[in-house]
């Protein structure tokens, strides 16, 4: 088990900069999600850490040992591929045994370790099956067992749940997390699914165009996004753009929005404020203002009922704002109704214009 340090890693393919000066410290035993849209460089970064590809510049170390020029087969990593990449000509047990077998371990040792790994992923009885006789979720578990049976220093997962349907994916998220905790292995997980990143990881790194946009615990990134991209890619956000007043912004029509957190900016600079839809309260009356709340007037243009909550789309000065309201049984608002939106400065994050 070991931590992974990526320092100033860059990698270009022709004129395309796939990774641009990326540095991340993956803590020993942590569960880390690399999140980004396709083409953001997250898979390229994972392949650098795995050793399938080497960085042009920068350093990578695993457990303090420099590995940026060490090929994958000598890095002692475990990897789970998007399509599982199980060997079709081998049984489940032989698949899991492969890593131990190429090392030349004794047959008895291999058999015992394989059984333990299969038990861990709850497939103890299916060792004799062939991969094509398994369901998607079972293949996933075999791939995981195969990756961890060699006791790698770090576990790398490349969108491992992407091929599963929604219900199975949630089960596997819980299962994966349980297994990771049980063996305490440093895990790096590539995904484009923000929900997966939020629910599973201790820390998230958001990548865009080969650069690390923001990095930190899920709560911190969600509550304190440092860019419009981070705010909108991880979760939903209403973005207001204007000139900064120091602790907020002034919209083009003169309305002031106060922010309780975020960047410290010189007054007058272009800036944005981000507000999560569930932090906004929506009402029909203008009164009952609670002091320092941000207030905007608008008109409901659309309501989407989703059972436990409703999403209101509110038109205001040419901008559509999103408000999510829990279903408390209170009166619902009709489309076309004039409304007042209120939210606290603490729910507002000031972001430097990009």
């Amino acid at each position: 088990m070991a931590g992974v340090q990526v320092s100033s890693v860059s990698r270009s393919f022709g004129a395309h900069k796939a990774l641009d000066d990326v540095s991340i410290d993956f803590a020993d035993g942590g569960f880390y999600a690399l999140l980004g849209p396709s083409g953001s460089g997250k898979t390229t970064l994972l392949r650098q850490i795995a050793g399938f590809d080497f960085p042009d510049t920068g350093r990578i170390s695993i457990g303090g040992e420099s590995v940026e020029r060490v090929p994958v087969e000598k890095r002692r990593i475990g990897m789970v591929f998007q399509n599982y990449a199980l060997f079709p000509n081998m049984s489940v047990a032989d698949n899991v045994a492969f890593g131990l077998s190429v090392r030349g371990e004794a047959k008895a040792v291999i058999a015992a370790e394989v059984q333990r790994a299969l038990d861990l992923v709850q497939l103890g009885k299916l060792g004799g099956r062939r991969p094509h006789q398994l369901s998607g979720g079972q293949r996933q578990r075999v791939a995981l067992a195969r990756a961890i049976v060699t006791k790698p220093r770090v576990l790398l997962l490349d969108e491992p749940l992407g091929a599963l349907d929604k219900a199975l994916r949630v089960d596997m998220q819980i299962e994966l997390k349980r297994i990771q905790r049980e063996i305490g292995i440093t895990t790096i997980f590539v995904t484009h699914d923000q929900e997966e990143a939020l629910t599973m990881s201790d820390r998230i790194g958001i990548l865009r165009d080969g650069r690390l946009v923001q990095e930190g615990p899920p709560e911190e990134i969600y509550d304190r996004p440092k860019s419009e991209f981070a705010a909108t890619f991880l979760g939903d956000a209403n973005i207001f753009r204007g000139d900064t007043t120091g602790n907020g912004i002034r919209l083009p029509d003169g309305t002031a929005i106060a922010a309780g957190a975020g960047a410290t900016l010189a007054a007058g600079a272009k800036a944005s404020c981000a507000v999560r839809p569930e932090r906004i309260r929506i009402a029909t009356d203008a009164g009952a203002s609670d002091g320092d709340a941000n207030t905007l007037k608008g008109q409901v243009s659309k309501r989407i009922f989703a059972g436990n909550n409703s999403t209101y789309f509110v038109e205001r000065d040419g901008q559509t704002l999103k408000v999510i309201v829990q279903n408390t049984g209170a009166d619902r608002l009709a489309e076309g109704q004039d409304v007042v939106l209120r939210w606290s400065p603490e729910s507002t994050v000031l972001i430097a214009a990009n």
């Binding site: 994958v72 087969e73 475990g78 591929f81 060997f87 000509n89 890593g99 190429v102």
Partner: protein
């Protein structure tokens, strides 16, 4: 309904005619190898004397062994070289790869007569001359493109992540090839080997150019024998070869379905 039945009947007739077209000459030849008359005269009278006299024909037997030896060695060499070449073309990017790939296949289309003449001239030029060794070299050159085509086609269906997965588990290049890649392409390798065997064993033109009187293959020997005067021994040896090679083909088709397995 009636039309369907007529169409079905026509279809069956077509298949029957097709099979007759393919097998009738062979069946007649096989029957005549058991006929007393050496001149295809009827009525048919059963005998095995031609098979007995074949056993005494040292020239024909020697040529058969030569053919088998050359075909087997050709198969082994071209399967190993061809599979290795296919793997290299699949795995690596290098300068001139496209040109090399394009140049591998035209030899299939060049008439054997021309290839044979060219080889004869070349082998004399470099001092190899004629004989069994020259025939072997010629056969390997003819068989290689077939092996590469078949194995490469099979490799197109290989998922490259499998090699990556094997490497991530600590396997070196040799282990990856032997334990992951080769098992996958094996049906292609076997099919390529069959092609190589057939190309060599059936080969007449190139073998004819490169033979010397003592060192020749079965097809060339049969041709020489027919020119001297036809004997039913030729029917006998041909029948044996047909039975053996058809059995071989059927067995292989049964086990490997020519790469059709999933």
């Amino acid at each position: 309904m009636a039309t369907t039945r007529i169409l079905e009947g026509l279809g069956r007739l077509y298949i029957f005619l097709l099979l007759a077209f393919l097998y009738l000459p062979i069946i007649i030849m096989a029957l005549m190898s058991f006929n007393v008359s050496p001149f295809y005269q009827l009525p048919f009278e059963w005998t095995t004397e031609w098979y007995a006299s074949l056993w005494q024909n040292d020239q024909l037997i020697a040529a058969t062994w030569n053919s088998l030896e050359i075909a087997i060695i050709t198969t082994l060499i071209s399967v190993v070289m061809g599979s290795a070449a296919s793997l290299a073309l699949y795995r690596y990017e290098f300068r001139g790869k496209k040109v090399l790939q394009a140049l591998l296949f035209p030899p299939i289309a060049i008439p054997w007569l021309i290839t044979g003449t060219a080889m004869l001239i070349f082998f004399f030029g470099v001092g190899i001359g004629r004989g069994l060794f020259a025939i072997l070299l010629g056969h390997v050159a003819l068989a290689l493109p077939y092996v590469i085509v078949v194995v490469s086609a099979r490799l197109q269906t290989f998922a490259p992540e499998l090699e990556e997965a094997a490497r991530s588990l600590g396997a070196n290049q040799w282990q990856v090839t032997m334990r992951v890649t080769l098992p996958w392409i094996m049906p292609g390798v076997i099919a390529g080997g069959l092609f190589a065997f057939a190309v060599s064993f059936d080969q007449f033109v190139v073998s004819y150019f490169l033979s010397t009187p003592g060192q020749t293959t079965l097809p060339v020997e049969i041709y020489a024998a027919i020119r001297k005067g036809f004997t039913p021994e030729i029917n006998a040896v041909s029948t044996i070869i047909i039975v053996v090679s058809m059995a071989l083909m059927l067995l292989t088709a049964r086990f490997f379905k020519f790469g059709g397995e999933k």
